[in-house]
Subunit: 174 residues, 2 copies
């Protein structure tokens, strides 16, 4: 009985360590987003940085845009339209002040990522997604669950005015 | 004469294309930063994302913090102190509103990177940099030129209060 209790404590302790280790990427197993049928690409959190941004208003976030090798190469070579296989991911976190940074700077000026909000993907496949400018769109929660159709329907109409840059808003930050 | 002129136009055109292609990284050849003798590590712009931030005030920038494999692995495994060989780079760009994003969102809320400001590195070598908590510090302009001693002297004193996290301010953004 005493031994079992010790084991439980040991397992709980290991569980705690595992749970507090930062995951490499959110993964969704078999959950595909609606309309475009996109699943979370493996290892997207390891992709290279395209740019960053801050959105005020309801979003109130800090965001990073990463790309797979096809997307980043196209950006760097300023190749438009993006080739099939390009995938762009937008990570976002709640916008929070950093007390410890402010202390170091000696004034309140520093804003950093709080908890993650959601993850959005643009996947280039000029045939499969011909009806939406060659791009499929997806959004997932931090639990890996895909957003519903209602969330995804405005994606293409919003990106459509940006046809001259192959429907992509984000510029590459050197 | 006509042929030469055509060649000049052709060379100028190619030069224009090359100049407008985004570089993979700023490179500094043989220019080492003072005090710690750090050169710009090759390929740092391809490193993985640790986090992002916005600094107000005089800095008024958006920034991204990337790490080499040793640094990112230590972050994900929450390993402190960072192992020797870890390198962290801070990219930064002037903070500018995005007219095209604001148009898409229907309100003024979007801020994106303008021109790059400078690039800062922290290099972990517990023996070489024992006098500064095991880290060497460097800053380079976007032209690859290292900042002077006066710029680098405050680095360690500013990071020193953060000894509990091995002198690193940036947290990993999941």
């Amino acid at each position: 009985m005493k031994t079992s209790a010790l084991w439980l404590v040991a397992i709980a302790a290991v569980g705690g360590v595992l749970a507090s280790t930062a995951p490499a990427s959110v993964s969704a197993d078999d959950d595909a987003a609606p309309i475009y049928g996109i699943k979370i690409p493996k290892g997207y959190r390891d992709w290279r940085l395209i740019s960053v941004a801050h959105e005020e208003g309801k979003l109130n976030d800090l965001r990073a845009v990463l790309g797979n090798d096809v997307a980043v190469q196209a950006y760097r070579e300023q190749k438009l339209p993006f080739p099939d296989g390009a995938i762009i991911v937008r990570l976002a976190w709640n916008y929070v002040p950093s007390e410890e940074n402010n202390k170091a700077f000696g004034r309140a000026q520093s804003f950093v990522p709080g908890s993650a909000t959601n993850i959005q993907f643009m996947v280039k496949d000029s045939k499969k997604y011909a009806a939406s400018g060659g791009w499929g769109y997806a959004q997932f929660g931090t639990d890996g669950k895909p957003a519903d159709e209602t969330t995804l329907k405005p994606c293409f109409p919003c990106h459509e005015p940006n046809k001259a840059r192959d429907y992509v808003f984000t510029h590459y930050a050197p």
